[in-house]
């Protein structure tokens, strides 16, 4: 049991480091999801199944999804502005 607990603690710490070292936001969302799953396993190993259940859904699904959707919205806004600028440039060229 102690061996299992130590293994999962080391794994969680390593994955957490991995999340911080991932610099690209979209990949980071996936890394955070993986970290969330490991954290849920850790809660389970330490006999907190109630917390593990919440962690699986919130940490592994909901949080990464919110990050990804937030990124999509930011990108779309940037795209809209770029299109506007291009249209303005075209109008200037035509005039």
């Amino acid at each position: 049991m102690l061996m299992l607990q130590m293994t999962i603690l080391v794994l969680v710490a390593a994955t957490a480091l991995g999340v911080v070292l991932t610099r690209e936001p979209a990949s980071q969302a996936i890394a955070v999801s993986f970290y969330g799953i490991l954290l849920a396993v850790m809660f389970f190993v330490f006999q907190a199944p109630d917390v593990a259940l919440s962690q699986i859904v919130i940490g592994a699904v909901a949080l990464p999804l919110m990050i990804l959707l937030g990124l999509a919205k930011v990108r779309r806004n940037a795209l809209m502005q770029q299109r506007k600028r291009e249209a303005a440039a075209r109008e200037r060229n035509a005039a």
């Binding site: 959707l69 506007k84 249209a87």
Partner: protein
């Protein structure tokens, strides 16, 4: 401040913090040796007092039920805040119409349709996920789980519909007026369970429902009622949140279907 002074200040504070931290760690009880009295007391009395077998749920919805009411309100306010912040604003609407008016047709970065395997799997998953969510929400007082966990699982069911490629159905489910009503009704029901105790016994959240037989789904009295109310609120809240986030990225694709 020069770079060197900053480094000296940094290392001094790190050394100070490290020594205090190590000192504090040495005072901790040994790994796995729990010394607080509350856990042992509750483990001993909760099943007898409340007829529940999952002590965590008993703590959440009874022994510290008032705190949970506060947490429910936090979730409620956060979801309302997110929905207000993410609403379609006039300026954005104008931009989108402009983009659609023909000067730049279509969405340039279209996501590919999910593969048939993903779609078939997700269609098959919707039913089991709904059943599992209901099961977890309804058995909170017996086994690990409860309203919060069950509610979040239930809220992922519309996501499976989305992954199955049915955007129109996803939109119809998530934008339904009942979802908003469910979120508000869940919070109200929780407060109502507490108020019923206040009115009938003079104490907020005191049990007013028969405790039932330990081990049955009807056991637990107000614990079960509060857990189900939480399930309703969490399901509504998370579906609403999903809708608020996905609405804007989905808009183009729904129209294409």
């Amino acid at each position: 401040m020069s770079r060197k002074t900053r480094q000296i200040v940094f290392f001094l504070s790190v050394a100070g913090f490290a020594s205090l931290y190590v000192w504090a760690l040495r005072g901790l009880p040994a790994f796995g040796h729990y010394r607080g009295p509350y856990g042992d007391v509750l483990n001993a009395v909760a099943t007898y007092e409340r007829h529940v077998t999952d002590i965590v749920t008993a703590v959440n919805f009874d022994y510290r039920g008032f705190d949970t009411l506060g947490e429910e309100s936090i979730l409620f306010i956060s979801v309302v805040g997110a929905v207000v912040l993410l609403r379609r604003q006039k300026k954005e609407q104008g931009e989108q119409e402009e983009a659609e008016a023909g000067q730049d047709p279509g969405e340039p970065r279209r996501s590919p349709r999910p593969s048939e395997a993903v779609r078939a799997f997700m269609v098959g998953m919707v039913g089991p996920v709904v059943c599992f969510g209901l099961y977890i929400a309804a058995h909170g007082q017996l086994t690990p789980g409860g309203g919060f966990q069950g509610g979040v699982i239930l809220a992922t069911a519309p996501l499976m519909v989305y992954l199955a490629g049915d955007f129109a159905v996803f939109k119809r489910i998530t934008s339904h007026a009942l979802i908003e009503a469910a979120e508000a009704a869940g919070l109200l029901a929780y407060a109502g369970v507490g108020l019923a105790g206040l009115i009938m016994t003079g104490q907020f959240l005191r049990n007013v429902i028969p405790l039932g037989t330990t081990g049955y789904i009807t056991s637990g009295g107000t614990i079960q009622a509060a857990s189900l109310a939480t399930g309703l609120e969490v399901t509504g809240g998370f579906v609403l949140l999903l809708y608020a986030f996905l609405e804007q990225t989905l808009e183009f694709r729904v129209r294409e279907e």
